[in-house]
Symmetry: D2
Subunit: 331 residues, 4 copies
């Protein structure tokens, strides 16, 4: 049995609390939030105890922490958790600054604690199946990875302002997916972007529509495109073109019902947003973390995966701002 | 080179004239119609000569006739064509009366002329591929055949009145398709029907919505359903459930374009009606006729196929009217 | 809070125990089975108490019973539960004999207890959405209902022998679905069937491949086809043709991953069997029961729905055995 | 009636000869080829006369020429045709050198003759419908255009060597499609590529797998990816993400037949290659040319469209070779 504490009782903390309830051998002992009311609320629905974060970090009855607090608090919490020898599950991004992520790696490795980066999409059953079949060689060597990722609607401007920008907040998931699928590290990044959805996003110094191309040393290509708005729902598609064929994973629609009229054939929109689409992925992600820690294995994606996705996001941001190709070294 | 004459210059005669223009080794020499203006019109667009029907039947420069006149004229034209040793392509139904069809068989077999029944759907590339793969054993023994067949909108009541009823006018195509796919002759027919689309069709003694079940001696099942109206276009689907799997042929849509909005994903309606959907089938059907006659082979579907489909239509009509299962013997 | 007891700890009892765990305001208090080991096993995984069936029926701490025992025990359990004023959820079929079902109706109505028949498919989110949109008039008046329902592989012969036959054991679900969708009671039944999958099923006096046509007084048609074996998985499709269009609900596939190679485009098989396909439906079904009982409302489908589906199954069985159309009166 | 001559009787010349036969008001008078046998062969199947190219260019009985010769001959033929006041249809690319294309523009505009660039894909009924609906505002302002374009297998190395490279030979079609769909001129080009399919293509100085990102002044994005090899056939897909939704055009498959087995659901491969996929497009393209010339209108795509696509191909080639973003000015 792994005894867990959750730091941060916002939306993602609540998701993880629910997941822990569905994972065998996992027990949610305590939750903490800077706003006591939030901690109390999650405590009451989950049956856990509300405690102060520092008490969770130092608790003798807790083996692992799930960090779902604002990004700028991750660094200190990781340091403290490592110092207290807790296994750590941390939401992406680990930190906005790769130098500080490296410092986290040092702390985690020095303490010898398990660390898992929260890239939930690797655990989507469709994407996971696609990647497994890819690794089994079903379509031979990977040549072109295409990732389309679009949100139903943009977040509030206040969120945008502290998000680190689209590449670090949104496309970072796709950078991780690119690494998951390419089978080689990207070495070059090109990126474009504009504020086409909402000029206020542009005024805040960010873009809402963007694309990137990554290439690996052997010439494999990954294309990514993002939009902060898709009228038809949460659009999450990947496809991989290989030497022997193509593997693709389509969106999941809200239902299988189809209507035929003189206007044609109409199917349901995609599942609305990430909480619906990745409901299963969140549970499987926590199960991977819990299982790995209990078995004494290193969970995946690792802290290095978190660092590398962040480095790609930084490179894309630079490529856009300087209108040039940027080389990266993720080794 | 096969030299052809067309009898009947209405819609279907025009389709066949166009098809002949696309079939190698086929030449349309002359056309005839009870209305001289219709014959002249088709003559001018096809480059053929307008002649009287009897002149076509006795012509020395014509090897084969395509009969596309009203059903009640078929009998005499077949007798005359056989007497004049012309190869015969005749639209369905050969005649409304199976006894008279048997008389046509006698005349055709006595004269030793080639005869092909006009069941165009066997030549639809999708249905033909499905049937070929079925015969090649791709899904093992046939168990359940499902045929859905729906027109975009009902014909005029005047047409209904002289049509012989839905089973002989519309479902006859599906009875032929059932025989094409089942791999055994049906021995029992059950049928239901009602005028749900237009009460005037009911007042004319016919139904516009109907279904039938056929069974073969070994227990294979074919389900058919028909409607005279489908708002989304011409609906023509078949599927065959076999011991090793399922083969199905879907509708062809007007385009591959799909629209995604908050209302979901919308594809195009089906191709509008039989002239669009079966455009290729009509050409391939004539090519089969021309090729078989030139090679001295018996074209398929034969005059016996025409008889059997009519017998099934009669049985279904009786089954509906007497509210009972009807046994048929097609051997 | 509704306090429940489960009678019968086999596969379906276990499914309901899990469902109760996911339904708010529902508490599983006790479970019973003729085999004490089965009751103990379910008690331990569900946290409920193992008791004797008679103790559950008379318990003061239990408000409702879920009956998932063999069919021939339903009658006595329903009588006892009604006498003890327990709300009753009973798996289909209520009984093999409609006269005995009528006696159950008398007992249930005399006692004034809630009763729900276990037709889980009405709660499949896709089928439920389709039916809701139908009732909202999205495609106008219903004209043709088509139901395709196929199991991945046949049950053991021992099961077949005590099943009451395909129409009462398997197609009964489709008869209920037909009633759910048609919007009118069927008045005529025709049916065909054969043992095409396994001759041993025929030797046991049953069929494994079957079809039926139901018609209503106004002429609406429902076509159903069943097979005990589908190599590609559990096939559960419905479509409804109406005056203004078509509504269909497709199968749910195991994943959205598609492979393209020189052999074409290959998607996943359907979800394997009813436990996977109807996982959500089982929870929603129990939630309906619990919610209705707590709110003092009559749950749907009712005991009368159970009776009517059984009457249609009897009629289809008779239609097959006597090779004739059978009239039914479900009012 | 427009009287045409074809220059170049290779594969594409033969396609255009067939198309002319299906276009009303068009007559193929003569054909020419550097290899007399090729001209004779096409003359005999098309019913046209075989002549020398210079005789076609100066002929009094010819109004328009269709240029389908090797690219390095286009320049002289265009000059001669303009001097002889023939309307000109010229296959892409007009010339490998944009300066020489500009000289062609001067000649064509000085002579006042009609000129159409052979970008057949604009006439694919699916792509044309998509673009029309885009222009009608169905999805609002264009934001992201995604074009996936893959050949079934690479051409011979000898072809590669004289092709001008993937961007000018293959992706040029996609650059034209990008301009057709974006609704604004691209101003920046980034590109990547590698020889992943065949090292011999790399040894010949070319790539066989490539991607590009174009952006317009207002920030619209177009992503393109190409491969010289797709095991599943000729892959030609486009999708456009706009403010109000998404429009996509899928591949056309060889048939609508689908097979279901324990391996899942398998549909047909895509239509094999461009002759099959764009058969209709080639006819519609010629019809546009013939119609425009007869009506005295300027046909589209124009010679300027040919220039601009070539300029984008040059920019992409430069972007790849210099590993940098390249600015272009197409105004």
């Amino acid at each position: 049995m792994l005894r867990l504490g959750i730091l941060g009782c916002g939306r993602i903390g609540q998701v993880h609390a629910q997941s822990i309830g569905q994972v065998p051998n996992a027990e949610l002992v305590a939750v903490a939030d800077a706003m006591p009311a939030a901690a109390d609320a999650l405590a009451s629905t989950s049956g856990a105890e509300a405690r102060a974060a520092e008490d969770i970090l130092s608790a003798g009855d807790i083996d692992a922490v799930v960090i779902g607090t604002p990004t700028d608090t991750h660094f200190d919490l990781i340091q403290a958790a490592a110092a207290n020898r807790k296994a750590i599950f941390c939401e992406k991004p680990i930190d906005m600054d790769v130098a500080r992520i490296r410092a986290c790696i040092d702390a985690v490795e020095a303490a010898g604690v398990a660390f898992m980066s929260g890239f939930n999409r690797r655990f989507d059953p469709n994407f996971a199946e696609l990647q497994r079949r890819l690794r089994e060689g079903e379509i031979g060597e990977v040549e072109i990875v295409t990732i389309l990722s679009r949100d139903p609607s943009p977040p509030p401007i206040s969120y945008i302002e502290s998000s680190g920008g689209l590449f670090r907040d949104m496309m970072i998931h796709d950078f991780d997916m690119a690494r998951f699928l390419l089978g080689e590290e990207p070495v070059r990044v090109q990126a474009v972007g504009a504020a086409l959805v909402d000029p206020a996003i542009g005024a805040a110094g960010d873009v809402d529509t963007a694309a990137a191309i990554l290439t690996t040393a052997s010439g494999r290509i990954c294309q990514i495109s993002n939009s902060r708005r898709a009228t038809y729902g949460y659009d999450q598609r990947i496809e991989v073109h290989g030497a022997k064929g193509l593997l693709k994973a389509e969106n999941q629609l809200e239902s299988t019902v189809e209507l035929a009229t003189e206007a044609g054939f109409r199917r349901a929109p995609t599942q609305h947003f990430f909480l619906e689409r990745y409901a299963q992925a969140y549970v499987l992600e926590l199960a991977e973390f819990v299982g790995a820690v209990l078995d004494g294995k290193a969970p995946t994606p690792s802290i290095h995966d978190g660092l590398r996705a962040q480095a790609l996001a930084d490179a894309a941001d630079l490529a856009l701002r300087e209108a040039r190709l940027v080389e990266v070294d993720l080794t």
